[in-house]
């Protein structure tokens, strides 16, 4: 990244700063190859045509050579392609792969649907879900909604409000949308500066080397599918009255009383957002607890904390129908009864890959039963010249993972360096209120995988809460492999969890031990220091009955929470 000099801050434009922020991986400004050579060394010749033991898709600069198409069957007629890479979908994964490929010397085009805050078969926008309908607008809404909690907190610190702060919905929407417009512009710029051709329209695969964009045909040596996913609403009567997360991020007015169906991270994030923006919020979950797949203790803890902030959870309650009343309000009928008077009913019941009408079946790209494109470890589909990254492959549906997949693909294709994305110890966050940060295994997974583990937990009232008088707490957990002493899981729910987890993710990914954590001096006073000051295991879990009977003296509680 170009140095943003501190001694001359005025030289760096705001746009440039934001580029740094949002596109930390090698800005396209120093576009020379040498800017990459440090990390990707040894930098191989980009015209390297030798065979490799793994069959890397060969990169043949079309301007210099007439090339042979990659084929399982060997000889095919020599063809000229319009592009070395044609990417369908300019979201996180597609933009990353396209930019990096272009930086490695490939000629690249990417197509994307026209911009809209709501996605559909005909609308999308450069930037994709993350920038337009996911991470970014969601986080901006979280910032906005968190203030109501901060107003409460500030009371305990001596701040006073003569009139209760009111929220103006339209100001937030206008400022949020201005930011999204700015970001989509920046993304376009980035593609442009990297020398990637951007084509607006709907891409469809015609044959293994041809993409149709609204009637115009483009040929490419390789095609990348990175069309992402979209929210899915189950087929129940009245579903036309329901909204999904796309719509929920861009409502024209504040929902007075909202039902959120679903217990996943999207449901919880929106529950926090609407609750903070002073809507009445009801969450309907099929199971007993929220966030299936997360650590059990975290699931309990976050549910309790959210309930304390006023969110009403309806557990083991599945939606059956939505009815619109004469006054325009909505009723949700569930297996347990009917709740009336909702202004909005939001479904956060999962997302589906956008694999329809892409021409996949006709060229033989295999799709699994969830509609996700099947890929190998290098993100290659069943058609050798067609690749896929990001949510459309339904591996780990996170922006940074799509970035990793996109970067790995560009290396594989155009740097002669076959690279597999590494899915070990991928950290993630839920921007619920309070938020969750985690990396590695849950306690349940750890027991399954390692058998003998030590679990360290801390559940405390943070300094801020002792002054604010609010019932906020923090929960932290370390899971340690008993045999190797390695920290195999780290979980936290409480203020700043997402920020805190990142540094620890480096440590967990590097395979560090509990002793390494203990050897680190704390930063006082922080919440994070608790992770390096957990002296006694809360419980030791042993598979063999012998050691089960020989629990550590230090254990504060018995196993089996």
């Amino acid at each position: 990244m170009a140095t943003t000099s501190f001694t001359a801050p005025k030289l760096s434009s705001p746009t440039f700063q934001t580029l740094c922020r949002n596109f930390p991986l090698s800005l396209p400004i120093p576009k020379t190859l040498s800017s990459f050579s440090f990390h990707l060394s040894p930098f191989l010749s980009r015209f390297h045509l030798h065979h490799h033991h793994y069959h890397p898709p060969r990169f043949h600069p079309r301007r210099l050579f007439a090339v042979r198409a990659e084929s399982e069957n060997g000889a095919e007629p020599i063809r000229h392609y319009d592009f070395d890479l044609f990417t369908i979908g300019a979201g996180s994964g597609g933009v990353r792969a396209s930019r990096f490929a272009a930086n490695f010397g490939a000629s690249v085009a990417v197509c994307e649907l026209p911009f809209s805050t709501i996605s559909s078969e005909t609308t999308g926008g450069v930037g994709g879900t993350c920038v337009l309908r996911g991470c970014v607008p969601k986080k901006l809404m979280v910032y906005a909604s968190k203030y109501s909690h901060e107003f409460d907190e500030s009371n305990g610190f001596g701040w006073k409000y003569d009139t209760e702060p009111k929220h103006d919905w339209s100001t937030l929407m206008a400022n949020k949308n201005a930011e999204l417009q700015r970001l989509t512009g920046i993304y376009k710029n980035i593609l442009n500066k990297a020398g990637v051709t951007l084509i607006e329209g709907r891409g469809k695969i015609v044959d293994p080397h041809t993409v149709d964009v609204d009637g115009k045909l483009y040929t490419a040596s390789n095609i990348l599918i990175s069309v992402g996913g979209r929210p899915f609403i189950p087929d129940i009567p009245g579903r036309e009255y329901a909204i999904d997360s796309d719509a929920a991020l861009d409502l024209p007015s504040k929902p007075e009383k909202v039902a959120i169906v679903g217990g996943g991270y999207i449901a919880l994030e929106f529950a926090g957002i609407f609750n903070g923006l002073t809507s009445e919020v009801h969450v309907f979950i099929r199971q007993k607890r929220v966030l299936r797949g997360f650590d059990e203790e975290i699931r309990d803890f976050v549910g309790e904390q959210m309930a304390l902030r006023g969110i009403q959870f309806h557990t083991e309650e599945s939606p059956q129908a939505i009815v619109k009343s004469a006054d325009g309000s909505l009723s949700l009928k569930t297996n347990k009864g009917t709740i009336e008077g909702f202004s909005h009913i939001m479904f956060a019941t999962g997302r589906r890959p956008n694999t329809k009408n892409l021409g996949l079946e006709s060229v033989g790209v295999k799709i699994n039963k969830n509609g996700a494109i099947e890929v190998d470890e290098y993100s290659r589909t069943t058609v050798p010249s067609i690749w896929a990254v990001g949510d459309v492959t339904d591996r780990i549906n996170l922006t940074p993972v799509a970035l990793m997949e996109g970067a790995a693909l560009a290396k594989t294709l155009f740097q002669n360096e076959p690279t597999k994305p590494d899915y070990r110890a991928v950290p993630s966050a839920v921007f619920s209120q309070p938020p969750i940060g985690q990396v590695g295994l849950t306690e349940e997974q750890a027991i399954k995988e390692y058998g003998d583990i030590d679990v360290y937990t801390a559940n405390f009232r943070p300094l801020k809460a002792t002054l604010s008088g609010l019932p906020d707490r923090v929960f932290m957990k370390l899971i340690v492999c008993a045999k190797t002493n390695k920290v195999i899981g780290l979980h936290m729910c409480g203020e700043d969890s997402a920020e805190i987890a990142q540094g620890f993710a480096v440590a967990v990914k590097a395979g560090l031990t509990k002793a390494d954590f203990d050897a680190t001096v704390g930063i006082h006073p922080t919440s994070a220091e608790e992770f390096v000051t957990m002296r006694s295991p809360t419980r030791k879990i042993r598979q063999s009955s012998e050691s089960q009977g020989n629990m550590g003296h230090e254990a504060k509680t018995a196993a089996g929470v």
């Binding site: 910032y143 702060p165 929220h167 540094g503």
Partner: protein, 496 residues
């Protein structure tokens, strides 16, 4: 207990005198280091006594309180005030997120102060309970060393208690000191600054260290006019120069008047307030003048010279790597030794002391990669080497990765303040030598990074870690392109 000790001692040593000690350990000073050492020693089975001065938020020769500087006059009350002050700008930022607030927000300083005092009284009680639960006997009064194995505690009513102890631990900490300038009695130190009756309207802060910067941020955040005077060109000497410039710029942008390379020469009481004169001939009127010009070890009234415990020229107790003083039965931990004056370091020293002396496991505190934070607004946090230190110490080239960005929250709030992050890497080994950050949540973010650095993580390991999106912290694992490469002077790069 006496009988049991006798047995133990007979098994270990034959010196009969040892049997007569009242305590295995007597600790003077119940702050972070002293309480930790006392508790852990007691947990190892030692009979432990500890003495501490009576509680008061403002310390003196005869006033202190269980919990020590950190709990009563340092980290905790400071952080509470920082929280309070940070709301000022937080709430301003709410407007562009659609919140309609009064033009001027009301703030009640007395309420915050009162709640802060309640909290430290609560913590003082918790610390006392921690000691009694561990079986440590607490004495209230001033401790003094009478002999290598003898302490004297002067109680509140003047009566003196005398105890013998096999080991004595000095953990009396340090106190803020005032510069010797005319009118210095008109100024205050951080002790008083944490307990001011009224919020200053115009505060003058002298000093460029973290305490100066933190109080400047607190008062400015609560609406006061603040002038910050310091000797160097930038505040926070010892930190990474680039980060010092970042902090200086942030302070200035938030409305603090910086006066680099300027000292105060005189304070005079006037009807309008304290008239402050600088060595540049400037004059200001302030209602509060804070001296944050350093702290001195509390070693004066302990009778150390008489028993032969050596002090260095700053008045700090000299110790070896195991925290042992020049008298084998006398030990010292924490700020009184002036090694690295941080609570978690005092805790580490206290823990190592207990392990060494009572845990049969000689342990040296490890001062490498100790992270720390400056709770300015926004805060700074660092671990490992600064760029300057890295260049000095490196054998080969040093790679510097920096990232300067507008935090996402500011994109809507409109706040003009960049977050800056930095990694300093050894080019040859790829080891990350240092990390720094100035921006919201920096201290929370840095803790995990510190674990990685402590264990010698490489830049490649940072790079292989997937980011948490959208966070500020993810920037630390996505710095792919080097900002600059520094070829270290005078060291051969090639064998030409």
């Amino acid at each position: 207990m006496a009988r049991k000790m006798l047995v133990d001692e007979e098994m270990n040593q034959t010196n009969q005198e040892e049997a007569h000690y009242d305590f295995d350990l007597f600790v003077i000073g119940a702050g972070s280091g002293g309480v930790r050492a006392a508790r852990f020693s007691a947990n190892y089975g030692a009979k432990v006594g500890i003495c501490e001065l009576p509680f008061h938020p403002i310390s003196s020769e005869v006033i202190g309180g269980v919990g020590g500087t950190c709990v009563i006059r340092g980290c905790v009350p400071k952080k509470i005030l920082v929280y309070g002050a940070a709301f000022g700008s937080e709430l301003e930022d709410a407007r562009n997120y659609g919140w309609e607030l009064n033009e001027k927000l009301a703030f009640n300083w007395k309420k915050l102060l009162h709640k802060k005092t309640d909290e430290i009284i609560r913590l003082n009680g918790i610390y006392k309970r921690l000691l009694s639960n561990a079986g440590v006997k607490l004495f209230e009064g001033e401790g003094k060393i009478v002999g290598p194995n003898e302490v004297e505690v002067t109680q509140l009513d003047g009566t003196k208690l005398s105890y013998s102890a096999k080991h004595i631990l000095i953990a009396t900490g340090s106190r803020a000191h005032r510069p010797p300038i005319p009118g210095q009695e008109l100024g205050i130190t951080s002790d008083e600054a944490l307990s001011l009756e009224d919020l200053p309207k115009h505060a003058v802060v002298l000093g460029g260290g973290y305490i100066a910067v933190e109080f400047a941020s607190i008062w400015r955040g609560l609406g006061a006019n603040v002038d910050l005077f310091f000797r160097k060109e930038l505040p926070l000497r010892g930190f990474d120069d680039e980060m010092r410039a970042v902090v200086a710029r942030n302070l200035e942008r938030r409305g603090i008047n910086l006066h680099p390379q300027t000292n105060l020469t005189e304070l005079i009481k006037t009807d309008n307030g304290i008239k402050v004169t600088t060595d540049h001939g400037e004059e200001l009127i302030a209602d509060v003048v804070l001296f944050a010009t350093g702290r001195l070890p509390n070693s004066k009234r302990l009778n150390l010279e008489a028993v032969g415990v050596e002090l260095d020229n700053t008045g700090a107790v000299k110790v070896d790597e195991y925290s042992r003083t020049s008298i084998p039965s006398v030990w010292a931990v924490g700020d009184v030794t002036n090694r690295m004056n941080l609570t978690p370091v005092a805790l580490m020293e206290g823990t190592c002391f207990a392990k060494t002396v009572f845990g049969k496991e000689p342990s040296k505190p490890d001062y490498s990669h100790v992270p720390c934070a400056v709770f300015s607004i926004p805060p700074l946090s660092v671990v490992g080497l600064s760029e300057e230190q890295a260049i000095e110490q490196a054998n080969g080239d040093v790679l510097v990765f920096t990232s300067t960005f507008n935090p996402m929250k500011n994109t809507v709030s409109g706040r003009q303040e960049k977050t800056v992050m930095k990694l300093v890497v050894d080019a040859e080994t790829d080891k990350v030598l240092g990390a720094s950050m100035c921006g919201p949540d920096a201290p929370e973010i840095m803790q995990g990074i510190a674990v990685a650095l402590k264990c010698g993580a490489t830049k490649a390991q940072f790079d292989s870690t997937v980011g948490i999106h959208p966070s500020a912290a993810e920037e630390f694992v996505t710095m792919r392109s080097v900002s600059r490469r520094i070829t270290c002077r005078g060291k051969p790069k090639t064998n030409l």
